[in-house]
């Protein structure tokens, strides 16, 4: 009888993955809804995290015919302590276990909903589904400033560090063989003749003596010639060749511009924060390296760290243009648009010193938008003030500009999706 022990531990892990995929696929609708709720509800700081999804049990059950409650049935139970035949017992209430648990056995476990954990990746996948980075048209290759060097065969000139010794020596051997072959062949035949003469000619004969001398002279010339072939010649040298290929830039910088004046309360800041972080998460999908610059402003703008950006409170009026000026300065100083994909996100309650709004529009249109791939403005208040009106003039004119309003946490996600709709979807909607 064949007996064997097989170690299966390394094989066939995740056999159920296909089943899980089918499961997720089937409940896509519910999962999407749940993800949406989760994003609204949970602190956005830890958005990139697994999520428990709950699906109503009735949606997930697989129906089969089975007996319902009612009729008459006789059940046997163990552990009788006090009953004798004919005793009558009060009927236990439904859903209650306990003694005489007559009903419950095959009418379901009484569990309510089906909850499972969507992994971080799956969660984000759903979250980002049918979103695509706007205007992600790669700049022309020629304009791509980032280069990567690739091997590309060998060349006959280069720096000593790139010298390929084996290739060079191989070339040298070939050259030495080729250049010297004629002389060597002659040399060998003359040597043979000389040897024959020396062996055959009678000693002291004049004719052969001259012939020998001539041969020897010729041999000496040829030897000399062969010896003069260089061991290594400059034309033998081979160098590793490297070419520079342009690579698409994969760096992005995201500017978060937020109004922190007195009118921005915690609720509004929270909305803004959600928007920024969604944008950040979204960019992490597309770029390897992302810098974030936080610019907050009231009447003056300042670049701050994240903590201060979200949590410091300020009072006073609002001059939005100060932030835009600072943003432009920072771009010019640190983030060359030919190397960086610049994204801007501005959040404000729309409150601005009224003379300043026109200047904001100009700054945006002339200075900032040409440098950025995308600039989104989100107003976290309902009423449309002059900043909104000024900005509204840019919509449609500048393709990389978009603006929306969001007044509740629940609106952030739709607004976000709206802003970053797939281009195709946008076209269809238009």
């Amino acid at each position: 009888m064949l007996q064997q022990i097989i170690d299966r531990r390394l094989s066939g892990k995740n056999k159920s993955i296909g089943n899980r995929e089918r499961f997720l696929r089937r409940y896509k609708g519910q999962i999407r809804e749940a993800v949406k709720r989760a994003i609204d509800g949970r602190g956005i700081r830890d958005i990139e995290r697994a999520e428990d999804i709950t699906i109503p049990k009735k949606d997930i059950s697989e129906p089969v015919f089975h007996h319902g409650a009612g009729g008459s049935r006789e059940m046997v139970h163990p552990g009788n302590k006090e009953y004798v035949r004919g005793d009558r017992i009060e009927r236990p209430k439904d859903g209650q276990g306990g003694r005489g648990k007559g009903q419950a056995s095959d009418s379901g476990e009484g569990e309510d909903d089906f909850t499972f954990t969507l992994s971080k990746e799956e969660f984000m996948q759903v979250f980002f589904e049918d979103l695509a980075l706007p205007h992600l048209i790669r700049t022309q290759l020629a304009e791509m400033p980032e280069w990567k060097s690739h091997r590309a065969g060998f060349t006959s000139d280069g720096t000593p560090t790139n010298l390929h010794v084996v290739r060079s020596m191989r070339g040298a051997i070939g050259r030495r063989i080729a250049v010297g072959s004629e002389s060597r062949r002659e040399l060998h035949s003359l040597e043979d003749q000389l040897e024959a003469l020396l062996r055959d000619a009678p000693i002291g004969e004049k004719v052969s003596g001259e012939a020998i001398a001539a041969l020897q002279a010729r041999i000496a010339v040829l030897r000399n010639k062969v010896a003069r072939i260089p061991f290594l010649d400059p034309i033998d040298l081979r160098f590793r060749n490297r070419v520079r290929v342009p690579v698409p830039t994969s760096k992005a910088v995201m500017f978060c511009v937020m109004d922190v004046s007195g009118s921005m309360d915690e609720g509004r800041k929270d909305l803004a924060k959600r928007f920024f972080i969604l944008l950040y998460l979204f960019l992490t999908r597309h770029y390897e390296k992302i810098d974030i610059v936080f610019i907050r402003h009231h009447t003056q703008a300042a670049e701050v760290d994240e903590q201060n950006f979200f949590h410091a409170t300020e009072t006073g009026g609002t001059v939005v243009s100060s932030a835009l000026v600072l943003m432009e300065e920072i771009i010019r100083a640190r983030y060359n648009p030919s190397e960086w994909n610049v994204y801007g996100a501005q959040a404000s309650d729309g409150d601005n010193w009224h003379h300043d709004s026109g200047r904001c529009r100009e700054l945006l249109a002339e200075k900032i938008l040409p440098l950025t791939r995308y600039f989104a403005y989100v107003q976290v208040a309902e009423e449309e003030q002059n900043l909104w009106q000024e900005y509204a003039q840019l919509v449609g004119v500048a393709p990389q500009f978009a603006m929306r309003k969001a007044t509740e946490a629940g609106q952030i996600y739709p607004v976000f999706r709206d802003l970053f709709k797939k281009e195709g979807a946008q076209a269809r909607a238009a």
């Binding site: 531990r9 059950s61 319902g68 009729g71 008459s72 035949r85 017992i89 648990k101």
Partner: protein, 516 residues
């Protein structure tokens, strides 16, 4: 399959070993081999006839994989298995449940999974329990012999998996998923209880598939031909000719053969689900017997190994602890009570049979005249070979065991305000308790009896199913959902009538097929 005649008594032990088997908690392959060798030899002493064993070491995660696909090493893909996996994983991670220590597959060779996390004593327990207990049950029990073909199941499942995958590719995930959903809804109604299934090798199955597709389609066409073969002017009135001639209990088979609109690939998928369901049919009817048998034998084998000087005290303590947990029977009214524990009942019954054979009391002689005082080993094998849970309990549950377990029966009648204790473990009640418990394990009373009653051949092609109530127990909610699935398979309206004990229809359902 040849049945070895059961031994009339255990064979004598081999020479006593110089020292006991080492008992570190971590197992090694060599150690498993050593233990296995002794377990095998000990099992042979009791004449356990098994398929060849294939022990496979797997991780907890793989164990969950196996759980999810109904314990099979390979199966077709379906979302419900994904759901199963997710809930298993969740419960496991939350610590709400431990994984079973073992899964064993009724195949030839018989595959037993040893979980990596198990300690050496646990592996020994699993080997004795699964590889010798369950394995010999699979090979010996008449239901398994009749309904399953251990040698071809794995091949068949591989075929099923590939076929379903192919269908998904050709006809789309949605179409296949919907079809499987519908088939699963009827999976418990995919067996002819009173007809032996034919046993075919996979090669035969495949060879016949083409013919079958062709033939089946022809039959269906014939059934639904709109031109009457011969105009029946008088004589037999059309409505007098019923189809099917007799009610059919195998709904899936009926659908496979007669559904008007199914395409050949859909019929094949129905067949696959039916075949797989049929494979599990014996398991549903032998839970007490099967688990009890395996538990009895791990207990016997490991104890014998101890007596023969193979096992250390530490190993004994460890597996006994698990054993005790497995056969724990909470009493009614306890918090953890959820019915009779099949392990506990089965173990107690086999142990009791042995007791009746070896040390019968007068009561036992009275109740089991043919059993009391006979050699216990053949008696036990006889019980394992020839019964299912229902008949096993009906035959072997002894008054002593009923007293030990303090069994009592309760009648729950919906017309009655209160429950009534109908019998307890006393002279007046033994038979009634035993009958009630046997009935409880009867598949016929556990699952509703639903049969194909009629097909309207001349009219709207509606299919009528009939539910014959058992003790006037109605169907649970969800009937409408199941009928939707039936309608999807049938392609035309489906009706269900529920008939009470007097033959009156008490409830009706009707579903139109969705036009999608």
């Amino acid at each position: 399959m040849s049945t070895v005649m059961p031994l009339s008594q255990p064979l004598p032990p081999g020479p006593r070993p110089a020292e006991r088997l080492p008992a570190p908690s971590d197992w090694t392959f060599e150690l498993i081999e050593d233990y296995h060798r002794v377990i095998r030899a000990t099992a042979a002493r009791f004449g356990l006839d098994t398929y060849p064993n294939q022990l496979e070491v797997i991780t907890a995660e793989q164990m969950m994989d196996a759980y999810a696909s109904v314990g099979m090493p390979v199966n077709y893909r379906h979302w419900s298995y994904g759901k199963e996996f997710i809930s298993t994983e969740k419960n496991y991670k939350r610590g709400a449940m431990g994984l079973a220590y073992e899964i064993v597959i009724n195949s030839n060779p018989c595959i037993s999974y040893l979980m990596e996390e198990n300690t050496m004593p646990m592996q020994a327990l699993v080997i004795a329990h699964a590889a010798y207990g369950h394995n010999s049950f699979f090979k010996g029990n008449y239901l398994f012999r009749m309904w399953t073909d251990a040698s071809s199941i794995i091949d068949y499942l591989v075929y099923a998996k590939n076929y379903v995958a192919e269908c998904e590719e050709r006809h789309g995930l949605d179409a296949v998923e919907a079809l499987l959903d519908s088939c699963h809804a009827l999976a418990n109604h995919g067996v002819d209880r009173y007809r032996r299934p034919s046993r075919k090798s996979l090669a035969q199955e495949l060879a016949e598939r083409k013919d079958r597709e062709h033939h089946a389609q022809q039959q269906v066409n014939d059934l639904w031909r709109t031109l009457p073969r011969r105009v029946e002017k008088d004589g037999a009135a059309p409505e007098a000719k019923r189809f099917p001639d007799e009610p059919q209990e195998n709904l899936l088979y009926f659908v496979e053969k007669n559904a008007p609109l199914l395409e050949p690939w859909q019929r094949e998928v129905v067949r696959i689900v039916r075949k797989v369901a049929q494979y599990f049919y014996p398991q549903r009817q032998t839970q007490v017997m099967n688990e009890g048998w395996a538990t009895f034998w791990h207990h016997k084998i490991l104890n014998t190994m101890y007596d023969d000087g193979h096992l250390t005290d530490g190993v004994m303590i460890e597996w006994l602890k698990s054993h005790t947990n497995v056969v724990y029977q909470p009493q009614v009214g306890d918090r953890g009570y959820s019915g009779l524990n099949p392990y506990a009942l089965g173990f107690a019954m086999y142990t009791d049979i042995r007791r009746i054979c070896e040390a019968p009391t007068d009561e036992d002689r009275d109740w089991f005249p043919g059993l009391a005082g006979t050699p216990w080993l053949p008696a036990l094998h006889h019980a394992m070979h020839n019964f299912k849970d229902e008949s096993f309990v009906g035959q072997y549950l002894s008054p002593k065991l009923m007293r030990d377990l303090r069994l009592f029966a309760i009648v729950d009648d919906e017309d009655d305000e209160e429950l009534e204790v109908s019998a307890i473990h006393d002279d007046a009640g033994y038979r009634r308790v035993r009958e009630a418990l046997a009935r409880q394990y009867d598949l016929g009373s556990r699952e509703p009896n639903i049969q194909v009653w009629n097909v309207n051949l001349r009219g709207d092609r509606a299919l009528t199913l009939r539910h014959t109530q058992h003790n006037s127990r109605p169907l649970a909610d969800g009937v409408q959902e199941v009928l939707k699935h039936v309608a999807r398979l049938w392609g035309f309206p489906v009706h269900l009538e529920s008939v009470d004990d007097d033959g009156d229809v008490t409830q009706r359902w009707a579903v139109e097929p969705k036009s999608d």
